[in-house]
């Protein structure tokens, strides 16, 4: 490691207070995480409201490009929910759409590169497991609630595959149960780790650029390589941000499908 320079890739995930302080165990602190959650919320609200302005326009007027964007997004999630759950899926569209859009916006806005001034530095709210974990717990609560509401104790037949000999059922029941109970954990872990790992990677290679320039000589070549790599990783991060939001939404829809139509 270069003299004096120390790579600290974890610093970007520290939740810092903006107003108030954590002293004395005070839980009511306005942090950079809260600020960026509000910014993401504001961006989503602006985007959706901007597309809904001309909803009641006369027939020849289909609205502008913005409305087409919003309608395309809703139609995309609606198609996915319809294909996964079936005609009953409309009831669960609000949560699937909310989680998809929130994860998409939070992931993409966390990737924004401007970090000129302390509080203006983007904080990726989805890089904290508390956030994605709570979202996956909501999905899991919907699955459990719908399952027990619709099927009662018959819901437990989800863990017993049909058409299997009773010895097979006895063996498969604990396996199915464990794989069901792991779901909320794995559902929340996936978007969290994807954002976390990507940001660490960008941070480390960004440090290589500076250290190579400081070293001079052959270090300049390393800097150029690291710069190209950072640019490439950033493009990949945009793709991963969209894929993780999509995967969260489609897995939520599939889990709800399990609860709605047992097998």
């Amino acid at each position: 490691m270069a003299a004096g320079a120390k790579i600290d890739p974890m610093h970007q995930f520290v939740i810092q207070p903006i107003a108030g302080s954590f002293e004395g165990g005070n839980p009511f602190v306005f942090t950079n995480s809260a600020l960026w959650t509000l910014i993401v919320l504001g961006a989503i609200t602006l985007f959706m409201l901007g597309g809904m302005r001309r909803e009641l326009a006369p027939q020849p007027n289909f609205g502008g490009r913005w409305q087409v964007m919003v309608e395309g997004l809703i139609g995309f999630v609606d198609d996915m929910v319809g294909a996964s759950i079936g005609p009953e899926g409309k009831k669960y569209l609000p949560w699937v759409f909310t989680s998809f859009v929130f994860l998409l916006f939070a992931n993409l806005m966390g990737n924004m590169p401007f970090g000129l001034y302390g509080p203006a530095h983007p904080f990726t709210v989805t890089s904290q497991f508390t956030f994605t974990g709570i979202m996956s717990l909501i999905s899991f609560a919907i699955v459990l609630g719908v399952g027990f509401w619709k099927h009662g104790l018959h819901f437990f037949s989800l863990f017993v595959p049909p058409g299997v000999h009773w010895i097979g059922k006895v063996l498969l029941f604990p396996i199915e149960l464990i794989s069901f109970l792991v779901r909320p954990f794995s559902l929340g872990l996936r978007p969290f780790i994807a954002m976390f790992a990507g940001h660490i990677l960008v941070d480390i290679f960004g440090n290589f650029i500076v250290q190579g320039l400081n070293a001079g000589g052959g270090g300049i070549g390393v800097s150029i390589l690291a710069f190209l790599f950072v640019a490439f990783i950033n493009i990949l991060e945009l793709l991963v941000a969209a894929i993780q939001a999509y995967v969260f939404a489609i897995l939520t829809a599939l889990y709800i499908n399990d609860a709605v139509n047992l097998h």
Binding site: M10, M80, A83, S84, S186, L189, R190, I193, A194, A197, I243, Y246, V247, I250, L251, L254
Partner: protein, 75 residues
């Protein structure tokens, strides 16, 4: 061997799992491409399943990453 060096070696060993998961992700997308070139008409309807397979393969690599992070920072 002291704890600090054992930690670093353990985290490095855990990183092997990420490489193994990359084989899985490559296999998922590779087989999808192969079969969608044979029957392009059916490819679009299977995109959801493609991403489910991708998510399952990727999760195991992320688990390895989580283990490495736990070894490095939480022990």
């Amino acid at each position: 061997m002291d704890l600090a060096s054992a930690k670093v070696i353990g985290a490095g060993l855990a990183a092997i799992g990420v490489g193994a998961a990359s084989i899985g992700v490559g296999y998922v997308f590779g087989s999808f491409l192969q079969s969608s070139l044979r029957n392009p008409a059916a490819a679009d309807s299977q995109q959801g399943r493609l991403f489910i397979g991708f998510a399952a393969a990727e999760l195991l690599g992320l688990m390895a990453f989580a283990v490495a992070m736990i070894i490095l920072y939480a022990i």
